[in-house]
């Protein structure tokens, strides 16, 4: 079943999913600090049943990047 990246971010950053879009990034989201960034990685891996590499994690800058990486892993993203 396809799952929503926005909903995972909303849960981790404790904000409304409707306020999250493809350009959401650490620079425009106060709650996206380094700890919550790692929490997000954990939550995404659990939700989409994938394992990211360090390079992927370091390379991700926006929500659009997250979706791209997830699709490369074959995850079904809503």
């Amino acid at each position: 079943m396809a799952k929503s990246v926005e909903e995972v971010l909303a849960k981790v950053f404790n904000m409304e999913a409707s306020k999250i879009n493809d350009i959401t990034s650490p620079s425009n989201t106060e709650a996206w600090d380094s700890f919550n960034g790692l929490l997000l990685v954990t939550e995404l891996e659990k939700t989409f049943d994938v394992k990211f590499t360090i390079e992927e994690i370091v390379g991700v800058k926006t929500v659009a990047d997250i979706k791209k990486v997830l699709k490369q892993h074959g995850a079904e993203v809503k």
Partner: protein, 523 residues
């Protein structure tokens, strides 16, 4: 969103435990609990807990907090500054030392620190009375140890491991704060055995061996067992008494409610019969309806599916004493006593027939029973005049200041109860004694033991030339019914109330003999 209160929070933790909730779920819940700042029921224990580590454990305190609430523990947490554990411990002005934790979890990876230094720090950290738990073995978390998170933020333990780790850690908090569960209430069909006895037949059900082994171990370490099942008693007993693969038998259970009443009422009936508070109860049932019925009407009870019992840490106790090891057995013996009670003509005949003997001993500073006495002050709620909790150190300090203390133990024809009461008298001056602690295990009340204990105190007071003996009663929800009138009914006169503490004065002109139903020995 539902309004966050204690009951809702516990329900959420129950769901997270059953469905393997993620770290983010727990952290969010901890934040919501903190933000809601709801009122906590009286039975929730508060404890200050600190976390120190030589690697990043951000998030662990929050997960711990959420987990602890399920055990009726409200944890206030402190997290040491990253990698500053030595300064935190050694500097008297550090955040840690100002926080004054009761419990410190020290998580250490030896790959880049000196083991001897850590040992010394652990010792030092415990000097202010905190219990220090060193966690240096992560072999249970191999999959989570030194993953990519190590390089991303010195998280040597991946976040994913926190729920399971926190669950393990909470066991110590349960023990230290005295929130130890005492009674395990069990469903039968599809819990103790697979199958439904009323439908499948007693010889067709299959006892759940692994679970029963675990429960038997809990029984051996002092957990009281009870049954709460919708069945015909005869059907259920046929399995319990006759099925060749049952490990748990009738004699392991202190009581049972096998009937068609609702399970919440049954739990209350069990609690009344055993004279225990339901906040020390765990209820295990496979049926989600029964789980939520009980969780809804008794939020203080820890409710869980049988699959979650084996990893549950709520039965952890600070120190296993000889009485603990026998408690499950003692309550089962108690059931045999009660069945004698109903077949005898009068209570007095019953008491005589018990052949009850007590032994009173004075407590000295080197007495080996001090840990047990401290534990009793922590755990006894119902017959406990002041409900003051004393550590072993407190007891020793009071003895060195001239307090006199006595312990009482009891034995009858059904078995040995061990130590069942504690009494302390503090001299205000040479001629005035104040009873500063007086508690009895409530399973033996009403047989003259408490009167024997008081008679001994009055005798000692007379022998020591005491002119005034004062008793005190501080009401709580739990001690009211047993303690409120106790002094008044035993030759004491009320002399007033100060700050919610009622005081009573003993009338030395009256005789206070040992009750004749109890044989009193002195050790």
């Amino acid at each position: 969103m539902t309004k966050m209160d204690f009951k809702t929070a516990k329900k959420i933790i129950f769901d997270l435990t059953a469905n393997r909730g993620s770290v983010a779920d727990y952290i969010n819940l901890a934040k919501e609990i903190f933000a809601a700042n709801f009122e906590l029921p009286e039975y929730v224990r508060k404890i200050k807990v600190a976390f120190l580590s030589n690697f990043t454990i951000l998030g662990l305190p929050e997960v711990f907090k959420a987990k602890a609430l399920f055990h009726n523990i409200a944890a206030e947490t402190y997290q040491g500054t990253y990698n500053q554990y030595a300064q935190e411990i050694l500097n008297p002005e550090s955040g840690l030392n100002k926080f004054k934790p009761k419990l410190i979890y020290f998580l250490v990876d030896y790959s880049d620190v000196d083991k001897n230094q850590i040992t010394q720090l652990v010792e030092k950290a415990g000097e202010n009375g905190a219990k220090v738990v060193l966690i240096d073995d992560f072999s249970d978390f191999k999959e989570h140890w030194y993953t990519k998170y190590k390089d991303l933020g010195d998280m040597r333990l991946a976040l994913d491991a926190f729920p399971a780790l926190a669950e393990k850690l909470v066991g110590t908090a349960v023990a230290v704060s005295g929130a130890t569960k005492k009674c395990l209430v069990l469903d039968l069909d599809n819990t103790l055995w697979s199958g439904i006895v009323g439908e499948d037949g007693a010889d067709k059900v299959v006892p759940n061996k692994k679970l029963q082994e675990h429960i038997l171990n809990l029984y051996k370490t002092g957990t009281i067992l009870a049954i709460n099942s919708k069945n015909n008693e005869a059907d259920a007993m046929e399995v319990i008494e006759k099925h060749p693969d049952m490990l748990l038998r009738k004699n392991h259970f202190a009581t049972w409610q096998i009937n068609w009443n609702d399970k919440a009422s049954n739990i209350r009936a069990i609690a009344d019969e055993l004279m225990l508070g339901t906040d020390s109860f765990v209820f295990v049932d496979d049926d989600p309806f029964q789980q939520s019925l009980v969780a809804e009407s008794c939020p203080e009870v820890a409710v869980m599916h049988p699959d979650n019992l084996i990893g549950y840490v709520g039965f952890s106790s600070a120190k296993l004493t000889a009485e603990d090891e026998r408690r499950g057995e003692m309550y089962a013996e108690e059931r045999a006593r009660r069945s004698v009670q109903s077949s005898l003509k009068s209570v007095n005949d019953f008491l005589k027939d018990l052949k009850l003997e007590v032994t009173i001993r004075e407590v000295k500073a080197d007495s080996p029973i001090i840990p047990r006495l401290s534990q009793m002050t922590q755990k006894t709620n119902q017959f406990n005049m002041q409900t003051v909790r004393w550590s072993e150190g407190d007891i020793k300090a009071l003895l060195s200041q001239g307090n006199r203390m006595w312990a009482i133990d009891a034995v009858d024809r059904f078995g040995d109860y061990g130590i069942i009461g504690f009494l302390s008298a503090s001299p205000e001056d040479k001629s005035v004694w104040v009873i500063s602690n007086f508690l009895m295990s409530c399973r033996i009340l009403g047989r003259g033991i408490e009167k024997s204990f008081l008679a001994n105190l009055i005798k000692s007071a007379r022998e020591n030339g005491v002119a005034e003996l004062i008793g005190e009663f501080s009401p709580t929800k739990k001690n009211k019914s047993l303690c409120e009138k106790f002094y008044l009914e035993n030759n004491f006169k009320a002399i007033g109330e100060v700050n919610g503490v009622f005081r009573y004065h003993y009338d030395f002109t009256k005789d206070y003999p040992y009750p004749n139903l109890v044989k009193v020995n002195f050790a």
